[in-house]
Amino acid sequence: MTIELRDVTFRVGAETHIYETNLVLKPGGFNILLGTTLSGKTTLMRLMAGLEKPTTGEIWTKDRNVTGVAVQKRSVAMVYQAFINYPSFSVYDNIASPLKVAGLSKNAIKEKVHRFADLLKLTPMLNRMPSELSGGQQQRTALARALVKGTELVLLDEPLANLDYKLREELRDDLPKLFADTGATVVYATSEPLEALMLGGHTATLKEGCVVQFGETASIYRKPATLESAEVFSDPPINTAAIEKRGDEAYLGETVSWKLPEKLTFLPDGNYKIGLRPHHLLPEGQGVEVQGIVQIAEISGSDSIIRIDVDDNVWVCETRGIHSYEFGEKARFVFNAGHCMYFGADNRLINIPSSSDQTDITNSGRL
């Protein structure tokens, strides 16, 4: 099913929750809404579901204007971050409940419940009560209930956020497979860039109630239209800094400088910005050197994330292996200037790293 937002805004009193948004979701695929808390993900979903009516603008599905059509009259299912199940129903009855409401025959219900329980690895638990399940099993039950209805639009609002990370790992693997055969248009809200990359599909980056960019997930990551889009799509946060262009050189403060890519040397001298992904800042090696003061070295098992103060900026180095630093330690980090993304003073992308795709960035899908 197609779903389209036309000039949609949403205000509560004097407060704007969603600024004018135009968005055409990819039918029959994964559409990810990526943004931090309060960026408007949940509000957008509630608008799409019909749980909220836009203040201005229209929402269309196929050729039908559904603005103001009640949620009950739409083909929509929604799963929330908190696992919501009927506590006094068994897993079987939880999954069967929307089918009973729809008046399906007992046999048809049985067939469907078993098919989706199988898909979500819940078959051995069908007779248990939700309180006897682990968090992952409870959320899978909620997912099965949403899927079994066979709705054309499925809205998933951070469905994995309350699960421990190993379970998230497994479900992230399973989810796209689960929906691949249903043909449903899936909208998936998350605050985690890595989750968006794992799920693939299309992504809309959101910031403070605005859709910043929409397009294929990997291409948004590689070619963010603006610094904001790059920031939304980076965890740990992308390293940014104001630079000054003087001739064919970029200056970061007075002491750090490097040669600009030839393409950029023709731009007028003045103030620009750079974005450097945390994994392109290295604890050792050759390249442009920066001095930083270590705030913390975080270790995730196989990687280290080192946060450092570089002048007025907090920069992050994300690197393989386990690197320990003392708090407050002065350390040297390096980066390859070829990995810098360049933005104008207005935060619009000028140039992406030479190693990435060099196609014309004016067609980067900005809305």
Binding site: Y165, K166, L194, I296, E298, S300, G301, S302, F327
Partner: protein
């Protein structure tokens, strides 16, 4: 300040009638060195909170003994143990000011007001709460409140240890690292023993000098982050630490070297050939690479995760995950893989066997 020692500590909650007791904690022998930063890591239900509660005295273990230095405290009530605790949800007195919250434990112990003022000012400084001292605690954000809980633990100079039970759960993800950084800094400044319970590997490995990994009521490994990554003693550690987790593949043994579906693998840590039990080879996705010569595989899935790619391959229906650099080409023509022998380990009935266990 004290060294905390566990001697054969076990705990079974009372079983339902006619059933055998189920142990939530199985034979823990563990020394918590004075001034150490420990993390207790494991999935929900592994027994980590049970263990923590036996330290604080909220729970008396059904078997075994606990010592603080030379004093046995197994049956001592919480109030006599001088333990501070920080829970998932900040516990603050909402109607009191930040100052009064921090002063509370000191005033309770009858400290004179000048000393209270001095000590509270010192702790507030450490926690960056000085500017908020006269504000009511109810007006603070979740991380501010959690800092108060933490401050109340630190303000007493006589605590034996501070225990943290998933203290960052309610903190906004973007602020978590700042609080983690603060905790580390505080540990270095105060030298108080800290024990931090979490199911999050980043929190555990970042905070702790030593990580205690628990699984199914038992401590399966105690080690530094590097040890846990390089040399998981139990399959669970290999799975739980690292993302994606370690690959485990069924193998036979040939003169101490693992054989996986007729492919002789090399490990720098061979074993004697007389193992009886289920043997598997374990290798992390980071140490599997494409080579011209090796085990033939079929590529199942390539995930571009920006910084790196996770490639899922199959050999004889066994799934192997690989971590590959972002700009590396994935071979399409008869791909073959190899394992790094220095990072290939053998497991028997879920436990690490073979040489190099103590390197």
């Amino acid at each position: 300040m004290a060294e905390i020692r566990f001697k054969n500590v076990q705990h079974a909650y009372p079983p339902p009638k006619g059933q055998k007791p189920v142990y939530a904690l199985k034979e823990v022998n563990q020394i918590w060195e004075d001034g150490g930063a420990y993390a207790l890591l494991g999935p929900s239900g592994c027994g980590k909170t049970t263990l923590l509660n036996t330290i604080s005295g909220l729970l008396t273990p059904s078997e075994g003994e606990i010592y603080f230095d030379d004093q046995e405290v197994t049956h001592l009530p919480t109030s006599d143990r001088r333990i501070a605790q920080v829970f998932q949800f900040p516990v603050v007195y909402d109607t009191m000011t930040v100052f009064d919250n921090l002063a509370f434990p000191l005033r309770n112990r009858g400290m004179d007001e000048t000393a209270v003022k001095q000590r509270v000012a010192q702790i507030a400084e450490m926690l960056d709460l000085t500017a908020n001292l006269n504000k009511r605690a109810s007006g603070l954000t979740a991380d501010g409140k959690q800092k108060i809980s933490l401050g109340r633990g630190l303000v007493r100079s006589d605590v034996n240890a501070i225990l943290f039970d998933e203290p960052l759960t309610v903190i906004d993800p973007h602020l978590k690292w700042q609080l983690r950084s603060k905790l580390k800094e505080l540990h270095q400044q105060t030298g108080v023993t800290m024990i931090y319970v979490t199911h999050d590997q980043v929190e555990a490995l970042t905070f702790a000098d030593k990580v205690v990994v628990m699984y199914d009521g038992a401590v399966v490994q105690v080690g530094t982050p590097v040890e846990l990554f390089n040399r998981p003693k139990h399959k669970f550690v290999g799975y739980f630490i690292g993302s994606p987790g370690m690959n485990f593949l069924p193998c036979k043994l040939d003169r101490g070297q693992p054989v996986f579906h007729n492919n002789l693998l090399n490990t720098s840590y061979p074993v004697g050939n007389d193992l009886s039990g289920r043997t598997e080879v374990g290798v992390r996705p980071e140490f599997v690479e494409f080579t011209d010569d090796g085990i033939p595989v079929v590529i199942d899935k390539i995930e571009d995760l920006g910084r790196y790619q996770v490639v899922t391959v199959k050999h004889e229906s066994e799934v192997i995950k690989m971590v590959v650099d972002e700009d590396q080409q994935i071979p399409t023509d008869n791909p073959k893989i190899q394992f790094n022998p220095d990072m290939t380990r053998i497991y028997c009935d879920d436990w690490l066997v073979g040489g190099g266990q103590n390197e």
